[in-house]
């Protein structure tokens, strides 16, 4: 019941918005009605253009997410497993991590020029940190009891890592990936606005400058929808994994450390 209500909530919000506009409570010069926004899809070429820009933004989002996620995952696992590496890299990481991703654009442009690779790299930069931190901390949090069991069983450090540490740290890492995916959409759009020539970010910006209010709103709604689709896809993927390997993604309750 609650779930159904939750799914209907966006529709209800749209309906309320429409009613408030029709009643004149909201001035259409500031906020066009949803029907007006959707109506501009009817203009020749708009629907196709919106689809093309959305797919460009999604491609940059997912490309950057894949690249940054993989980098953060690998480096996070390495820093989690090797304490000395973590200690050595920590100052550098703490300096790089707070840099806003949009601030990377001016210097990244010097290397990559304008275009897709710039957006993908900036998105990857933004995505790598939450995954890195989550993976590193998840490895640190693996219960030593599990590792002791494996070590006494005669497993080499490599196999202890592969058979115990990697699966045990997965739930924590997944949380980092989920966070990074949300960031990816936002950063991809900001990149398009600051240094792009197409994509939803650029579409929203140009429409706004041209006072095509409904089109600007349409682009913004499409961003939300694109993010929602990404999150849904991620959920479905983890649920599928959970069905295939029960217990794998179960977050284990926190436990006391061995002395």
């Amino acid at each position: 019941m609650i779930r159904l209500a939750g799914r209907l909530l966006p529709l209800a919000a749209l309906l309320l918005w429409e009613i408030l506009c029709r009643r004149g409570v909201i001035d259409a010069r500031f906020l066009p009605a949803p029907s007006a926004i959707l109506a501009c899809l009817g203009a020749p070429g708009t629907a196709g253009d919106l689809l093309a820009q959305t797919s460009r933004t999604l491609l940059r989002t997912l490309g950057g997410f894949a690249l940054g996620g993989a980098a953060g995952f690998g480096l996070g696992l390495a820093c989690g497993a090797v304490r000395s590496l973590d200690a050595a890299l920590r100052p550098l990481v703490e300096i790089l991590r707070p840099i806003p991703s949009v601030a990377v654009i001016p210097v990244a442009v010097l290397w990559l020029g304008l275009g897709n690779s710039l957006d993908v790299v900036v998105v990857a930069f933004a995505c790598s940190w939450p995954v890195f931190v989550a993976a590193r901390d998840a490895v640190h949090a693996v219960d030593p009891t599990l590792c002791d069991t494996a070590r006494l069983g005669g497993l080499s450090p490599g196999r202890v890592f592969r058979l115990v540490v990697l699966p045990a740290s997965l739930p924590g890492t997944i949380t980092g990936l989920r966070t990074a995916l949300g960031i990816a959409v936002a950063v991809a759009v900001s990149c398009e606005m600051v240094a792009g020539s197409d994509g939803l970010g650029q579409l929203a910006l140009t429409a706004s400058y041209a006072r095509q209010d409904p089109l600007a709103w349409l682009a913004v709604l499409a961003m939300g929808l694109a993010g929602g689709v990404c999150a849904l896809g991620f959920s479905l993927l983890t649920r599928w994994a959970q069905r295939r390997r029960p217990g794998l993604l179960e977050i284990q309750p926190g436990r006391g450390r061995m002395p």
């Binding site: 599990l146 070590r151 005669g154 196999r159 058979l163 217990g247 794998l248 061995m258």
Partner: protein, 256 residues
Amino acid sequence: MRLQAQDLGLHYRRNGATTTILADISFTLAEGEFLSLLGPSGVGKTTLLRCLAGLVRPTRGAVLVDGSPLCGTLPGAAMVFQDYAASLFPWRTVLGNVRFGLEGQKLSGPEREALARAALTDVGLADFAAHHPFELSGGMQQRVALARAVASGARLLLMDEPFASVDALTRIELEDLLLRLWHERRASVLFVTHDVEEALYLSDRVLVLGDRPARLVGDVPVPLPRPREQLRTRGDPAFAALRGALFALLGKGTSA
């Protein structure tokens, strides 16, 4: 296997101050013996067990296995922990968990499977092979941990208060299961506990650990007849006498 602790000591330094955890611990665990380490909570029993297993390197003395010094982890040993839920792999089935004990050994897949299934049958969980640990009760999870330990063909079971977090009835069942497995598999057992009666009921010999730093304060043989039975053994006058002796060694004999 014969396991010997020779003047074991462990201390660590923090902010210039040295804290000693283990001091001058020497004893021998004979082949096939059931030996208990009895001591109050927080005394360092777990640390001693981890030293003997080669998971922690002692700062003094040595661990000898059949006469030669141990380097690396103790071969042919398996550990059973108090926190059974933390020691089982949640992403593996019950069978997968038991098979894990065999993954460090050069065996074929079917051989591993057969040994794991045999161990599961031994602990009475043959029907739960395909379940996951979180679907089982605490007592059953600890049975899985026991099965994993014996499936590996361990010559020595290191047990760290394994029955301290299950209810009293389950505990009695698990104690008798352990005695049966020990008898059938002819392994040695080093059993850490803070429970005087449990130590007496199970063991051939009880070593009593004193407080801060942990050191041996008593070595008490338990000549109670085997096979042991919960009611008969615990009702034996000799059992009561030994219990008094152990309490005295722990310094809890008299009400202060």
